[in-house]
């Protein structure tokens, strides 16, 4: 029998990292992800793995970069304010094509914003910093899934030699749910023959990884390689879940913690005879465009639920190609217009009724 535990979404990411054989964690405390760094500080040393509390998030992302370059499974975690601080390092990691996992437990912004939940980093996570790179973004909606998707994140990172962002939020991070701790199994991965593990491993020839693909080596080769990689990921790694979309007149689209409220609203709407369905993107990049585009062709309406002023809705608009009506339930629909207010299923149901 699989062990069932009651843990927070933040701790679940820690457990997932352990089960994914992550050996190196670097981080700096920030609300609302503190339970995660605390878990790592407590558990990693016990297992003989490396935990470093860096002097800043800028340092922790660069430590992840250095560790990942040696081929080990490395990760960091942070929250919005400091996720911004990491962008330069993430762009560097992208240039070096280093597999690693970066966790962002979203809080309110901009600036130091609030210490409470939000979903205001969607565009930053999916679009990234300078240089036109892409990265996989995974978005769990339950504590169980947070635990599982960290393992998926490490697998995909190594499969494609790419960094993966796990996009959580303050609600999901701090709430507790019962979780079955089972290790996921994955197909074999390519050997990390690119890792800098000392020149002996490379015939005593000079061997290094650098962040200047357009200065050292062929920039064209770098772009071609990246372009092919991104296309393959976009083709093969889209993940999503659907509920009752077949006969739906209105399809709700939501990710992360608001997806829970949205799912409840969908059932409430069905109880009242409204044909509502629900699509939950699990990969935010690559975004499930095809299925949305197909549904748009069959005259469905879409209602996007996200705790921001509208970010994922832009991806939905791109997918819909102007073929269907799209509405937003956003931060202004919180029950309280404050940092601690949140979007409730009751409100989503109201908006569904206004929209159909």
């Amino acid at each position: 029998m699989v062990e069932k535990v009651l843990i927070s979404g933040n701790e679940a990411i820690g457990y997932g990292a352990i089960y994914a054989d992550c050996t190196h964690y670097f981080g700096y405390p920030i609300t609302p992800q503190n339970e995660l760094i605390e878990f790592m500080a407590r558990e990693f040393p016990k297992l003989g793995r490396t935990f470093v509390q860096a002097e800043s998030e800028f340092a922790s992302i660069n430590m992840v970069c250095g560790a990942a370059a040696t081929g080990v499974r490395a990760m960091t975690s942070t929250a919005s304010t400091a996720f911004s601080l990491m962008q330069e390092g993430i762009s560097g990691i992208a240039s070096m094509e280093l597999p690693c996992v970066i966790v962002d437990v979203q809080r309110g912004g901009p600036g130091a914003g609030s210490t409470q939940h939000s979903q205001m980093d969607y565009l930053l996570a999916t679009r990234g910093a300078h240089g036109g790179y892409k990265n996989i973004v995974l978005a769990p909606f339950s504590v169980q899934e947070a635990y599982e998707l960290v393992q998926v994140a490490f697998y995909l990172a190594d499969k494609y030699r790419i960094h993966v962002i796990l996009l959580s939020d303050g609600i999901l991070g701090q709430m507790y749910e019962s979780v079955e701790l089972k290790k996921l199994e994955f197909p074999p991965l390519p050997e990390k023959d690119w890792a800098v593990t000392g020149s002996a491993a490379h015939g005593y020839n000079r061997f290094f990884i650098h962040n200047s693909p357009g200065i050292i080596g062929s920039y064209y080769d770098y772009m071609k390689r990246s372009d092919e990689k991104y296309k393959k990921i976009a083709e093969e790694e889209v993940r999503y879940e659907t509920y009752e979309i077949e006969d739906a007149d209105i399809v709700l689209i939501s990710y992360g913690s608001t997806a829970r409220v949205t799912l409840e609203a969908m059932y409430l709407a069905r109880d009242q005879g409204i044909k509502a369905g629900f699509l939950r993107p699990i990969t935010l990049w690559p975004f499930p465009r095809k299925i949305i585009n197909t549904m748009a062709g069959s005259k469905k309406k879409f209602l996007v639920v996200e705790d921001c002023m509208g970010q994922m809705i832009e991806d939905v608009e791109l997918a819909v190609e102007g073929k269907a009506k799209i509405g937003l339930v956003g931060s202004m629909d919180r029950n309280l217009p404050t940092g601690s207010g949140m979007i409730l299923s009751k409100k989503v149901l109201e908006k569904i009724k206004d929209f159909v």
């Binding site: 069932k4 009651l6 609300t31 210490t115 409470q116 504590v143 609600i171 701090q174 709430m175 507790y176 749910e177 019962s178 913690s257 829970r260 409220v261 799912l263 409840e264 059932y267 601690s340 949140m342 409730l344 299923s345 009751k346 409100k347």
Partner: protein, 184 residues
């Protein structure tokens, strides 16, 4: 077998920081895991530790919990008047309200609730520790709802206190829980 309907129930708890709102919520959730397949506990609190508004919601279910964020709770445990002001309207019609009359000095606005009150703070003071007023209210809630057997809560409470190296507090905590239970 197969005849029994899948159970699902929820409870929300609200008060101010330091009253043990989150603690009794977690206690219900931890004990709930022994009786239900799926459990969620969702907290929300202001940044400072004491004095800010604190709320948590617990869902216990035989099936997957759809949403841990409860719009309209079926039961509500209220520790002070400000919490009542915020959450009284959110209860479902006919819902259960258990509130601390030591810290609520007004009549209820609604008459469609199953409301019970007891002076939890006073009772806790008589036991020598105002901090256990939360458990007094929890005891009353358990007696009225039958959601969880009090023995399951008690054994979870003991395990938790032992884990936190606070064995000395077990008798006081159990006394508070039993007090609320027996007052109903």
């Amino acid at each position: 077998m197969g005849e029994e309907k899948a159970r699902t129930c929820n409870v929300a708890i609200a008060g101010y920081g330091g009253q043990g709102v989150l603690t009794i919520g977690l206690l219900i959730a931890r004990a709930g895991l022994k009786e239900f397949n799926h459990v969620s506990w969702f907290p929300t609190y202001e940044t400072w530790q004491r004095g800010g508004r604190v709320f948590c919601g617990v869902v216990l279910s035989d099936n997957q919990v759809i949403s841990p964020i409860i719009s309209e709770p079926e039961s509500l445990i209220i520790l002070d008047e400000a919490a009542l002001d915020i959450y009284e309207d959110s209860l479902i019609s006919g819902g259960l309200l258990v509130y601390n009359s030591s810290m609520v000095n007004r009549e209820l606005k609604r008459d469609d609730l199953k409301a019970v009150s007891l002076p939890a703070t006073e009772l806790a003071k008589e036991m020598g520790a105002v901090q256990v007023s939360n458990l007094v209210l929890l005891g009353s809630y358990l007696k009225i709802t039958d959601v969880l057997p009090i023995d399951t809560i008690e054994s979870t409470l003991e395990d938790t206190l032992i884990k936190e190296k606070k064995e000395k507090l077990i008798p006081l905590n159990k006394e508070a829980l039993r007090c609320g239970f027996e007052k109903m």
